[in-house]
Structures are given as C-alpha cells and as structure tokens.
C-alpha cells in the first residue's frame, strides 16, 4: 500500500522544518553567542547577577524548557490541523 502524499502533507513538513529552524536559532543564540561574548557582556547586571552567569546558570535553561514546551504545543496543533494526528484508529 503506497503512501498518498498530498501538497498538504508537504506543507505540514515545511512548517515543521520552519519552526524547527527558528527554535534551533534561539537555542544557538542563548547558548553559543552569549557564551562567546561572555567577557564583553559581563558588566551588564540582571537582578544582581552578571548577565552571562545568569544565562548560564538559569536563563538559558528556562529558555530551553520553553522552546520544548512551545514546540510540543505547536506541533500537536499542527498534527490536528493537517489531519495527521494519531488516535483515530
């Protein structure tokens, strides 16, 4: 039985790739860009913490959790919108 892939399926996959790329870019910036410029950013204060230390110890972790939460929500809705969600059989 061959799979019938329609234009709608291609669109679904394309949307998935787009959101993946956007979230990955955020992940990259909070981890590597801030890490790379840590020395230069060290004078900026965030509620008492120097910004790079705060990001490394807490801020980027919170952003990671949010990225994953948002991805799960976005994709689980996309599944339903594009009729590829599991569960009807």
């Amino acid at each position: 039985m061959a799979i019938q892939l329609t234009a709608k399926h291609a669109e679904y996959w394309h949307k998935n790739l787009t959101i993946t790329a956007i979230l990955l870019a955020i992940w990259f910036v909070v981890t590597f860009v801030i890490g790379y410029f840590a020395i230069q950013l060290n004078d900026i204060r965030f509620f008492g913490w120097p910004l790079p230390f705060y990001m490394g110890a807490q801020g980027s972790l919170i952003i990671y959790v949010l990225i994953i939460w948002y991805y799960a929500r976005y994709m689980n809705r996309l599944d339903r919108d594009y009729d590829v969600a599991e569960g009807e059989d």
Binding site: M1, A2, I3, Q4, L5, H9, Y12, W13, N16, T20, L23, L24, W27, T31, F32, G35, Y36, A38, I39, N42, F46, F47, G48, W49, P50, P52, F53, Y54, G56, A57, Q58, S60, L61, I62, Y64, V65, I67, I68, W69, Y71, A72, M75, N76, D79, V84, A85, E86, G87, E88
Partner: protein, 685 residues
Amino acid sequence: MATSSQAAFNRQLKRYYSFYTGGFVAFVILLAIAESLGLPRVWIGYIFLFATIGLYAGIGIMSRTADIAEYYVAGRRVPALFNGMATGADWMSAASFIGMAGGLYLQGYDGLAFIMGWTGGYVLVALFLAPYLRKFGQFTIPDFLGARYGGNIPRLIGVFAAILCSSTYVVAQIYGVGLITSRFTGVEFGVGVFLGLAGILVCSFLGGMRAVTWTQVAQYIILIIAYMIPVVALSMKFTGVPIPQLVYGTVLEKLDKRTVELQKDAKELEVRGIFKDRAAKLNEQVKGLPASFEEQKAAVAKKLEELKATNAPAGQIKAAEKAVADFPKSVDEARTKWTAAARADTGRAAAPFIHSEPFVGATEQVRDNKRKNFLALIFCLMVGTAALPHILMRYYTTPSVDEARKSVFWSLFFIFLLYFTAPALAVLVKFEVYQNLVGTKFTDLPAWVASWQKVDPSLLRITDVNGDGIVQLAEIVIGQDIIVLATPEIAGLPYVISGLVAAGGLAAALSTADGLLLTIANALSHDVYYKMIDPHASTQRRVTISKILLLGVALVAAYVTSLKPGDILFLVGAAFSLAASAFFPALVLGVFWKRATKWGAVAGMVVGLGITMYYMYTRYPFFGVNAPLWWDIQPISSGLWGVPLGIVTIIVVSLLTPQPSKELQELVEHVRYPHLRGDIDTRAT
C-alpha cells in the same frame, strides 16, 4: 489502546505516586523522631540503604513480566509526565547529584558548561529525535539504524557504539554506588558495589523496561526531595528566603566582593607565599636529581633524630616518622612524587578567582583558550545528550507521538529543577566558606569541618600553614563532593537529612545504572541475538535470553568497577563524545535527509566514531600517548571533531552511492508524520 483506559491508568498512577511520596516523607519524619530519641547514626545509614533498595526491589517484583513489549518498552503506555520523571532519574547520575555543585564551586562560571550542556541537549532531542523515534516505534536505537539504512551493517555498528558508550558510562555509575554505600554504612567499597548491584538487578532482571520505568519514577521523587531540603534550609539561613534560585544573585555579588578582599589580604598573601616557596624548593629538588635524592633522604632522617633527641611533642615526632616511612623508594618515584607535589603547591599559591567572571586567565590567549574549550564542551555534552541510547530509548515508551513531544518537555522540566539549583547551592556554600570559615580560630572550627576532616581528608583538609591559629582561604583544600554531602550539616539540619542526601545520591546512581545496563543487554539480546542470529526465536526465549545477558553484563560491569579504573570525569566525558559522534549524524540525517544511504551512514559512523576514539586515545593523559592538541581542544571534547566529520562523510558518501530504495524512502515519510492514511506500520510487537 483506547484513550479511556489510558486516562484511567494515568489517574491510577498519580494516586499511587502521591501515596508513595507521602509515605516517604512520613518515613523520613519518623526517622527524625527516632534520631532525636537517640537512634545511632550508623543505624540511620543502614535503614536508608536497605529501605530504599528494598523499595526498588519491591517495585521490580511487582512489575515482573515476560511479555516482550512490556519487557523492552514498558508496554508503550507510560504517560508523558511519568516518562519525564523516569527520564530525569535515568539522566541524572551520581555525578550530577553529588559532584556537580562542587564542580561549580571549584570552577565558577566555566563550570556552567555542564549545566547548559546537560540541559540544552534536550532541545535537540525534542526537535530532531524523540517524536520520530516514537513514530518508528521499535525497541532499540540500532533498530532504527537497521531499518532506516537497511541491512545488518548499520545495525551492528550501532550495537558496537551503544555498548561502548553505555559501558564507559555505567562503570562511572556503579563506582558512585560503591562510593556512597561504603561512605554511609562503612562497608568496603567492593561490597558496596555488589550490594547496590543486587538492587539494580532485582529490578531490571524481573521486569525489564517496565520495572525500570516505575522504579525510576520512585527514584526521581527521592532524589529531588533529598536535593531540595538542604538547599532550602541553607537559603533560609543565609537569605531568609526559601527559594534560593531567585535570590542568590545578591549572595553572588557579596561573594565576588569578598573574593577581591581575599585576593589582597596580607595574611592570605603570606600563606600563598609559603606555598610558592615550597613549590620552588620542590622544583629545585627535582632538577637536582639524582644527587638530591640521597641529600633529602638524609635530611628527613636527621630531622627525626633531632626531634627525638630534644624530646619534641609526640605529634611532631609522629609526623617526622611518617616522612621517613613515606620517603620515595627510588629516584624515579621521587621525581613523580615531587613533581606532583610541586604542581599542587603551585595551585595553592594561586589567588582565588572571581566566581562569576568568565574565562579567568592572565593573558588574552589563556582566556581565549578557555572560551574555546567552554563552547566545545557545551557542544559535545549537548549533542551527546541527544545521542545516548539509554535516553533516546525512553521515548519509545510513550503511548503516542504527541505524548513523546510532551514527555521531552517534562523530562527537561524535572531535570531543570535540580540543574538550576546546583549553581545556587555552590554560591551559598562558597560564601559560607569565604565569609565565615575564613578568619575562624582553629580552636573553634564549626562541627561540620571537624567531622568531615575526620571522615575523608581528600574531601576537606585545613592546616595552619603559617601558624597564626586562624583559618586562611589558602589553607583550605576542598574536594568537590563535599559541597552536597556537607550541606545538611552547614545548614544545621539533623543527621537524618544527611542520610536522605546519601539515599538521593544512591537513587541517582542506581537509576542511571539501571537504564544503561538495560541498553547494553537489549542491544545484545534484541539486535544481535534476535535480529541477526535467530529471527525465529519465540518471545519466551527472547525474554529469557535478555535476562541472562543482563545478568552477565551487570556482573562484568561490577567486576570492572571493583578494579577502580580511571577517573569518573574521564569516563563520563568519554561517553558523551563517543555517543555524539557515533549516533547523532546518522540518526538526524536519517530522518531529515531522504537521500542518506546505507553506505553513507556506515562510513559516517565509522569515521566519526573513529576520529573521536583516536583523539581520545592519543590525547588523554590516561593512555600515556600525550600527542599535541588540535586547536587547543581538550580530549573531553573529542566529539567536536567526530560530529561534523561524521555529518560531512554521510553527505559525501551518500551522494556518491545510488539513492535509497523506494521502501526506505517511504519509511522516512512514515516517521515524519504521526499518522498517514494507508500507511505502513513499523511498530514492533
């Protein structure tokens, strides 16, 4: 499975684990009451050890199974929330629980590479792997490689890599089990190893993934309670606020100011000067070898004679006797011993560094070097996270693709709770030491200092180097494990909480070891035996073979551990780089690039893993080759070479070989969509 029964199952689980948590808290309170009535400390250690191991064994017995899907993937009905907790326990090892806060204490900002690396990797798991692996829905990671690329060669390389990285990692875990049991009950290290192993085995042996999953949930609850109670108490003591993660910024500011004071303090400079002189003298002696060997030997003996002649205090004579007894036996031994001692003294002669400052170094080049290695380490830990088979395997156990996605969120959330607490704990304890311990008279050291010095001098040692009777920072030698272990006492909590912390560390080590042993045994029994040797084996036989192999693997691992090989950090670091370069490129390209071919994957895995192993072997001091570093990258980040090279190799070789068959391309389409009408079904039963 119908959704209504899944919902009922979910409710039932929530009820069970709520009761369990309440029961556990009541148990700790009862022990606390018993302690105040005079229960001796050794007993508390034993009760915690046997009660928790007994509990895990009990869950193992209740979850025993001979059903193949239950044994390998817990029947694929673990709800997202619970799979998240199980993954959290699976993930957080003895190193995370006991060592990490201490590592942060010693390394300051640079240590945050571990915090970010071991959490940010879950972003990669969520975006690139978990939902697709769940849709594919078989039993092991080599399963996916075998199906996606076709044929036994990719599967076999996967088996090899899974066993390689899981076994280096599992040895580190069993080591942790041995250390904790021996420290808190006084049994010998080797006995501790096998005692812990018994707990692991009863659980996974009887019930495979199903038992491991439900035990890991129980272990997560214990370890998070054990980690949080002391930190909250400490925060109350210092800041008056029970949520240290919100307020330790101000403590950090004070700590940094205090460090600047200590950098310039006259007494501190005096002590550091003494260490500098000692190091210089030792270096002189090393240079003067072999002549200096006899000179020193005579000098040590002469000193003992003099002391005896003048009727010096017994303590001094004892020390001099020890110096004679410990004197190196040969010139070579003297060279290694003195060089090491000189290096240690040079380290102690260094000024304390500002905790929050990134990449501390004297020159621009040193700082740049540290930054490079910091970012490289984060990269390897993150990609390694998204490639360790024992973690990826957990996402086979959820009921559906959308639950798999949610479950990654819960996993990271539960891991995050501990990981954003550790840097706070490190800062609080460091402030206590810098502000309060430094400047105390040696005659009234706090109780926790005295007791830990006695337990293990490698964890904490304070000696009055300049003889002024007051503690200077440079006189304190602190081992990283003590930060978590001593926190209950620093916060003024009863000994029961120390026992609880040990039980938490044990839970962390056991749960990770469980997951790893299962991964190794399943790779052998499912991928090698069933898929390659005897595809017609009955399910009964497959489960039996799995159990026998599990037992064998566990015994071998425990035996290797009891020989105490290498250091823990080396083993853990190695596992991440190995997993990253072997699996990540082939798994991710397998889903996102239909054109990736069998030979591309084979070549990419071999080249990636090969280069990583080569770099480790030739650069880790452990192996004694010590070739010059490439681009100053430390061997712990070997994956920095293996991962990109693996990706490039897969792409180049894939483009040079004919494109994959239609069936394989359809498989890729199949894993990309949670549900397609008229689709194939790859789920294994």
